[in-house]
């Protein structure tokens, strides 16, 4: 009996991970062909970086202080573009209903969309960082900074995917997402900017750790909250 129960549980979890994997594969395959989402995010992010470079004619000392803010403003705005587009693709052709009709736990849809959105955001960050390094003449290849960018992006996308699946149901989705998202991600942006700044200024790890811990806790809380409420958010 226990063997049978275990098999049923394994079957459910294999179906769950199969669905998560299928959504990630579908998003990446579709994006590889259309390049709609990534190109919009990349052009936007590079333009913002370039504009800041010309607008703030900074000396090396000020540059080090301003860099975390410029980087996170760029990532946050480019991320919002990607989140909006990623859910709009599902809604416009009714595909969101197609996903919701699948006989799997609906949190699989959330995790699938979150991981593919995160992949798009990380690709943008991988392109922006070297360009920023060249334009601002700064070395950004710092392990601590990369960990902060990863943790900050996870939290931002975890909340963003949940809120974009709410916003996409409304007629004003493009305007609504940033209005809903930015107040909720303020803690993560503050922690990410402070931690990035700490690493760039070469502060001791003990001074940066509170912000890293805040990022980890925020990520865990919002992933857990999204897991619990996603079903209700996407249902009429």
């Amino acid at each position: 009996m226990s063997n049978i129960r275990l098999t049923a549980r394994q079957k459910t979890s294999s179906r769950f991970f199969g669905a998560v994997g299928a959504i990630i594969w579908k998003d990446l395959a579709a994006e590889l062909r259309s390049r709609e989402l990534l190109s919009a995010m990349l052009v936007f992010a590079l333009l913002v970086t370039l504009i800041f470079n010309f607008a703030l004619d900074l000396d090396p000392g000020t540059r080090r202080v301003a860099t975390p803010g410029i980087l996170w403003a760029t990532f946050a705005f480019a991320g919002t573009l990607g989140l909006n587009r990623s859910m709009a693709v599902e809604k416009d052709r009714g595909c969101l209903d197609g996903l919701l009709l699948a006989p799997v736990d609906r949190s699989a849809i959330y995790f699938g969309k979150t991981i593919s959105n995160l992949a798009f955001m990380l690709i943008v960050e991988v392109v922006v960082l070297p360009v920023y390094s060249v334009l601002y003449n700064m070395n950004l290849f710092n392990t601590g900074l990369i960990v902060v960018i990863l943790l900050g992006s996870i939290g931002y996308i975890a909340v963003g995917t949940l809120l974009s699946s709410m916003a996409v149901q409304t007629r004003t989705r493009d305007v609504l997402l940033p209005i809903l998202l930015f107040p909720v991600v303020i803690p993560i942006l503050i922690a990410a900017v402070k931690a990035s700044s700490g690493f760039l200024q070469g502060l001791a790890l003990t001074e940066v750790m509170p912000y890293i811990n805040l990022l980890i806790v925020y990520d865990l809380i919002f992933i857990a909250a999204a897991y619990m409420v996603f079903d209700y958010v996407v249902e009429e």
Partner: protein, 234 residues
């Protein structure tokens, strides 16, 4: 197969369904008719577990909604006027994606069978966005029957199709329904559903206003039945 008792659906202060009683036997093909705004799509979305009932008892294939929604979804195939397909994936990739979402066994062979059935084998590697509306709708039916569901829900599947595409769709619907499946289809087009369905129910102002079986109707009497059932209600 489907039992609905005293179903009420409210959106805020607006009541769309006002106590619907509805029953479909296994293998029956029911056409749900009604004017715009009667609540047909809302009713079908509740059966498909895409919307929660405000009150009432809804059971599909023995499973209660919304408590056993996942079990209900495993018995359903749904086709709407939107194809629910990804334009940037090929026909085969779309079916493979949905097959994985539904956990379809022996997916490769099943995809071949479905593409053969809907007549799209030669276009299997073409992007869906290059398909005509009729081809997309045929592939949408393929997507719906991919996991071999017991119940099919069609919400205005003929919308936006030309005459030839509608005829082709009807042939496909007959073939799919003829495999012993239970079908509920909403439509405005009485001439089309007259030959397809075995029972006709009229939904008006949020309740089932009338119901009749095809063998109880005389030839070409569906229009009269429909009009009479709306008298004093429209």
């Amino acid at each position: 197969m489907i039992t609905v008792k005293k179903l009420v659906k409210r959106f805020g202060l607006k009541t769309v369904l006002r106590g619907v009683d509805f029953e479909v036997q296994e293998g029956e093909f029911v056409a749900l008719l009604g004017p715009n705004g009667a609540g047909k799509t809302t009713f079908l979305r509740i059966l498909a577990s895409l919307s929660r009932p405000s009150f009432g008892d809804v059971r599909v294939a023995g499973h209660r909604l919304p408590a056993e929604a996942a079990a209900v979804r495993s018995t359903l195939g749904v086709v709407t006027h939107l194809p629910l397909l990804y334009g940037d994936l090929t026909a085969e990739e779309n079916l493979r994606f949905y097959g994985k979402m539904y956990g379809v066994f022996d997916l490769r062979n099943r995809i071949n069978e479905i593409l053969e059935l809907v007549g799209l084998t030669s276009r299997r590697r073409d992007l869906v966005r290059t398909f005509s509306r009729g081809m997309q709708q045929r592939l949408a039916i393929g997507r719906a029957i991919l996991p071999n569901p017991e119940v099919l829900l069609f919400d205005e599947p003929h919308t936006g199709l030309d005459q030839d595409a509608c005829d082709m769709l009807d042939r496909l619907l007959r073939e799919v329904a003829g495999q012993g499946r239970t079908v509920v289809m909403t439509s405005h087009d009485l001439a089309r559903v007259e030959d397809l369905a075995s029972r006709f129910d009229v939904l008006s102002r949020g309740i089932i206003a009338a119901s009749t079986k095809r063998n109880e109707l005389g030839k070409n009497n569906l229009l009269d039945f429909y009009r009479n059932s709306l008298v004093g209600r429209a």
